[in-house]
Symmetry: C2
DNA sequence: CGTCACCGAGTGGAATTCAATCATCCTGGT
DNA sequence: ACCAGGATGATTGAATTCCACTCGGTGACG
């Protein structure tokens, strides 16, 4: 199933951010418990007021336990970021499966919907943007966007016969960056998301991609070759 | 001169971030020296690993001196941010003056050019993005984008007769967010800026705004009313 | 000689470590 | 099957380190 590839359990972008892989089952819950706590704390006190003690407290663990699994404070945020990205991809897959797709646009629309949905439902999702420039998770943010663009390109090529190639990937990455910026802006003030920016985001994406991948543009491309 | 308004010495966004206004001349240089040091450190160790001690060291001052002028660590970043924004506006004005503007597009182009130029020449400019979401200067980042959009709107209205109003401001803010995201992406890996993303940024901006403000669109608007 | 600038050891709180302790799993003997 | 008891994973929290920020003392300028 090509769509499932979006989730991607490949190790390419994966990272060993956990010091020790949990062996016993009790600690499996600890890990996600710590992340849940971190997410809750982020939403409560904000991104830069987090303390490791708060996370430990909220998770019902001691400080040492936090450091058993994560090398330092920012690694916890990294992990939270990663988990949210995975959930985002899962949500995109769900959206794609629940909708009847008649053109590539429907797929892009699903991505936007998934993104907006997560912003609304996932605690701490705000810190998770693909392109946070300066904060902790910054390093591999672009790698995430790039990775996602590649996967999305696969889907669009396989299901809607868009022309594969670097151009498509590049344009999707451009689209991802723009969408991320506009949606982040939509949620900057309004916790439910400013509909104006969300709508404009869909419009911009469609216009931009239509320029290259509208039926007309594709026809021109086909007859020219 | 309407263009000069872009620089904006209004007190609306200004802030009393310096504790003590320097009285003696020697300390005038100290202030900018501290900011230069901060900028250098930001470029070297990254945004979240900055240390007040590092800044003091680099500036050849002691910690106490930093705190003489700035109330706390983030105030230094704020000041750096503010200085960069002022320089950006100045550069935009310079670009506008040095170019012959035949349409609003040339003005937008100048803004992009100024932005790219600063990215290349100004140390620490990366932290200065309009829309840093989580880091310290995040609070008024959107306010900056909004402010800049308003000023730019004034210029475009006065010089190119674009229809004034909230719609124009909103669209310019959308444009600013998109441009910022794409240019940040352009400079994420390549210190000189990936030309592909820069070019695509110009294209996206033009297409987006053309939709509403191309001569044809404006004519339609005029005849309809 | 009174300010203005500057210094840098000192304070407090948060981040991180680590040696001790507890819990769980494993193994081999009965 | 059962269980003792070592081996190893998991947890703890006091101790340590790091870092932002203060403040009393020292020079420099006018």
């Amino acid at each position: 199933m090509t769509r499932g590839g979006l989730i991607g359990e490949e190790t390419g972008a994966a990272l060993q951010q956990v010091r020790t892989e949990p062996i016993q089952q009790r600690s499996a819950a600890r890990l996600s418990g710590l992340l849940d706590a971190a997410a809750a704390v982020v939403d409560e006190v904000g991104f830069d007021r987090i303390t490791t003690a708060m996370i430990a407290d909220r998770a019902g663990a001691s400080i040492g336990t936090v450091y058993r699994y994560y090398p330092d404070r920012v690694a916890v945020l990294h992990a939270l970021h990663e988990r949210a990205v995975v959930r985002f991809r899962q949500r995109v897959v769900d959206e794609l499966g629940a909708s009847t797709l008649t053109s590539w646009w429907d797929a892009v629309d699903c991505v936007v919907t998934a993104f907006v949905g997560l912003y609304r439902s996932e605690p701490g999702f705000r810190i998770v943007n693909f392109d946070d420039r300066d904060g902790a998770p910054a390093v591999d943010a672009v790698a995430d966007a790039d990775f996602f663009a590649r996967r999305l390109a696969d889907v669009l090529v396989n299901e809607f016969d868009l022309p594969a190639g670097d151009d498509l990937i590049f344009r999707l990455e451009v689209a991802v960056e723009m969408a991320d910026a506009l949606l982040a802006r939509a949620f900057h003030t309004d916790p439910l998301g400013d509909e104006r920016f969300i709508a404009e985001c869909r419009l911009v994406l469609r216009d931009y991609l239509d320029r290259f991948y509208s039926p007309q543009a594709l026809n021109l491309l086909a007859t020219a070759s």
